[in-house]
């Protein structure tokens, strides 16, 4: 068999099943991942179309509604009832999805980009640079994620932008470790040696060979990091230290801050925002797990 023939059969073998196509088929056959996709779909639709779906104004107070005690529960007028200041909870949940999604995406993007650059440099340059970067990452991992975010918000001051930076920075070490491991594993791989032997420069090998081959664990981790980011943001909101005006901003975590005194009379005030958090976090976790299984080359072809 000539080389050309061998190549042809190889191409024929690979063509009908690309990694991504395979992964997609495996993903949509995984019941957990389907539930996850549904949850995330609900979450994203709520976030994007909040102004269209909302029945009221998210910050408009209506103290008359709570004149007879707290708080009227779900009704035809207020699907999820009203909160301690007579605001429509359904509307606030929808707008809350916007905050969570926005903070989630931006903070994961921050953590991912900084983490990937640091991890790639550490793995590829090696030596002193490697140990210096990774020791700092180890230390960041030693500080509990929420505490690190609290510290950063404390230093930068509250506000949407600073929360994103805080949650994002807390994510950096995870991505840095991931990419460093991946780079180290591939640095001596045959295709890298081949690229090097034909004289391709190191940065180009890194960007056009090594990073693309590390992309699938990064995507899995990115999905899982979205879940963590949503939980961390809710935690900061609950503690009342994230946003400048926690009373006004419809943020899920902060909706749970003052309700424990009203648990007996209005349990829905805790149950509804809490369920919203659980559904969105669960959605990203399930997709992440499903992707991990779908993309794991060890499971391919089984």
């Amino acid at each position: 068999m000539s080389v050309a023939q061998a190549e042809a059969t190889e191409v024929a073998l690979e063509a009908p099943s690309g990694l991504w196509r395979d992964a997609w088929y495996r993903l949509i056959r995984n019941p957990g991942a389907i539930v996850g996709l549904l949850f995330v779909l609900v979450f994203v639709v709520a976030a994007i179309f909040a102004p269209l779906l909302a029945t009221h104004d998210p910050v408009e107070q209506n103290l008359l509604l709570i004149a007879n005690g707290c708080c009227p529960g779900p009704s035809a007028e207020h699907y999820f009832g009203v909160d301690l200041l007579g605001r429509d909870l359904f509307t606030r949940i929808l707008y809350g999805a916007r905050y969570s999604l926005l903070i989630g995406i931006v903070s994961v993007a921050i953590g991912l980009s900084i983490g990937l650059v640091l991890g790639a440099i550490a793995g590829y340059v090696g030596g002193f640079v490697d140990s210096a970067i990774m020791r700092v990452m180890d230390v960041m991992l030693a500080i509990p994620g929420l505490l690190l975010a609290i510290g950063i918000v404390a230093a930068l001051g509250p506000g949407l932008r600073n929360v994103m930076i805080a949650v994002g920075l807390a994510n950096v070490p995870i991505f840095a470790r991931l990419l460093r491991g991946s780079v180290l594993a591939q640095r001596e791989a045959d295709f890298v040696l081949a690229a090097r032997s034909v004289g391709i420069k190191r940065p180009q090998i890194l960007f056009s060979h090594i990073i693309p081959n590390s992309i699938s664990p990064v995507i899995v981790q990115g999905t899982l990091a979205m879940a963590t980011a949503i939980i961390d943001v809710a935690g900061l909101g609950f503690l009342g230290i994230g946003l400048e005006d926690p009373d006004e901003t419809p943020e899920w975590g902060s909706m749970l801050t003052e309700v424990n005194e009203y648990l007996q009379v209005a349990p829905f005030l805790a149950l509804i925002p809490g369920t919203a958090i659980v559904i969105s976090v669960l959605g990203f976790n399930l997709i992440g797990d499903g992707l991990r299984e779908a993309l794991d080359p060890k499971l391919r072809g089984r």
Partner: protein, 344 residues
Amino acid sequence: MAGGQQTTSLRTYALTRLGLALPMVLILLTMVFLLLRVAPGDPITAALGGRLPPEQLEERREAAGYNRSLAVQYLEYLGNVATLDFGETIVDNRPVTRVITQNGAATLELTVVALFVALLVGIGVGLVSGRYRDTPVDVAGRLFGILIYAAPVFFLGFLAQLVFAQWLGWFPTSGRASPVTSYDLDTPTNLFLVDSLIALDFSAFSDVLSHLVLPAVTLGLVTGGVFIRLIRVNVLQTLQGDYIEAARARGLSERTVMWHHAFRNALVPVITVVGLQVALLLGGAVLTEQTFNWPGIGSELIRYLNNRDYIAIQGIITFFALVVVIVSLLIDLLNAWVDPRVRY
């Protein structure tokens, strides 16, 4: 002979590991110092600015040494931490070490019991799930693990309060002890469970315990979710091992195979994960304490945060991170002792 060799290499490993921990602590302290100094102004201005006349503010800044160069302040900070002096809070002039000794016991009690709950639930559910793979028990166990992992601690805490305190009335909603108990009980160790046992005051003990149940179980369940998953996978992997088949072939009862061969090996990595979970546990403790009005370090941290007291925040975060570093050091040593492969 082999024994002698083993102890030497364990000691070498311990020294190397300790040598690695020291630069880590230095980086940690530098990071915390830089982090809380990038804030505009200095801690005194941040906490008291606008509340004191400018001259008085200036006086206090000078007294605290904030008019000196950052390098001097940095070296002083390092020196202080080395002598276990984490500074004095600005808003109520309390040494941070006292915050730790006074409120630390509450946090310690909460986290230790929570870790115990986490291990109990995690190991129990994990082993059963792995042993009875793909049966309804396994599906239920996995579902429980996934759900618990997605629930924020404070939401789970509210659910627990709602069901077990408000509806069923089994446990108190919040706090560490009822007023009578906290008034009567002598607290030499500040660990209320221990104190009530020392005093042989069993009504106080049961009161303290009933206050501890909901927060500890809440924090423990959230932490335990990770263990369920880990142990299940480990059981599945060990069950595929050749030695399991060999044990079965030798005619050992299924029970012996499970307990002495499979489960035992599946539990070794748990030690490592306990170390990793300590950070999660401490972060979760901050939220749990806030949810249950638990007077621990986490509650104090949030109180100082709302007062913008950077000295207190810096001290408490440094302390938490040091705990994580020390625990992970101990875990690594324990691991090296249990599993010789780790030392290489």
